[in-house]
């Protein structure tokens, strides 16, 4: 299990095994607090900075991973 998925599990207060690319963010309270926490997690795990507004449009973990893949290194 990656540190990123473990971090996401903490943010959404679910078991780490529940985090998959299909994980539905919207169904798990994808609010500004969760977005901000995810921004910090991405910075920590990948040393990349993404925009809050871009992150806000994501609906699944796969979307978030795509955003991370496109972001330049911090």
């Amino acid at each position: 299990m990656s540190a990123f998925y473990e971090g996401l599990a903490e943010i959404f207060e679910v078991e780490a095994t529940e985090i998959t690319p299909q994980f539905d963010l919207i169904a798990h309270n994808w609010d500004s607090l969760a977005i901000v926490s995810t921004l910090a997690l991405i910075d920590e795990c990948f040393d990349k900075l993404v925009d809050g507004s871009v992150l806000a449009k994501c609906t699944t973990v796969a979307d978030v991973e795509r955003v991370v893949g496109m972001a330049a290194a911090a």
């Binding site: 500004s32 607090l33 977005i35 901000v36 926490s37 921004l39 910090a40 910075d43 920590e44 900075l49 993404v50 925009d51 809050g52 507004s53 992150l55 806000a56 911090a74």
Partner: protein, 360 residues
Amino acid sequence: MTEAGHQAAVGAPHAPPKGLAVADVRLRGVVSALPSRRLDNVDFETQFGPEGVADVVKMIGVEHRYWVPTGQTASDLCFLAAQRLLTRLDWAPDSVDALVFVTQTPDQRLPATACVLHGRLGLSSRCQAFDVGLGCSGYVYGLWLAALLIQGGCSRVLLLAGETSSRLIDPNDRATALLFGDAGTASGLERSPGAPPIHFVLGTDGAGASNLIVSGGGFRTPEPDSRRPDSLAADHLFMDGGEVFSFTLRAVPKLVLETLANAGVERERLDALLLHQANRFMLRHIVKKLGLTPAQAPINIDRYGNTSSASIPLLMTTDLATRLTAAPMQIMSVGFGVGYSWGSALMTLDSLACAETLAA
């Protein structure tokens, strides 16, 4: 500029010195004043529910904050702090050459509140006084201006930084209602030949202006913004937390590293990093990213909330007061936020004559 032109400029023989620096200036003392009304998180539970409060608090880390009662303003808090500071430093009112008041919550739209404070403090008619309308970065800009005023010929400068953000927030906006606190501070800076240079890095990104804004109350009709909840009045603070957070992550670690590099100081040699107390989660993240120890970067947002331009001097008069008055220290103050505006000041301080916090 073309690539070739850029390289030529970088390689020019008369390149400017690295960054901004002002020597022969010393910080002598700092006093903060807090309003008497303390609000605990439990006081917000009726409105937002215990879970609603807990969710936000987990992120921002504020346990209690002080808010002014009706009738008390940022200038009242700064007045008390300034009076005490003048006494402690044994500065006669007519020895002050300049008063700079940093605030976004002035008493009136005009005159500048610095002039009103000048009158209340009984300063000399030869003393200049003006306001600076910056928030989270404002204390560092105040230090910069005070240092330049001294370089320009002033001997003593009173730098007052105070904010009553409680008067700007919508009490129904959970994100801001729990975050902010009120405070007023006074710092005394003095000409001191031989004092080592204070290194500054200052910057602005006006593209972020709408992400932290009170759009009403000025002279431009507020423009509609789809991000604002309909219930939020124009004269209340709007904050796009996610955007402000990503700005901070982009700007602050870089700012700290650039300042250390300009000054030629290793981060291990920094006795204290005084970060504007914006949000505890963010502060912890920045400290970790910079590879600093928690002991190097004190956090007091749990007890006072985010007090905008007052947060750095308030950190000096609370968590750092004993150390600052006991021995010389090398510290870096870092302010960032509304504007977007940011600044850092790396100073080697003599032990301060006073660093104390008053109840106003």
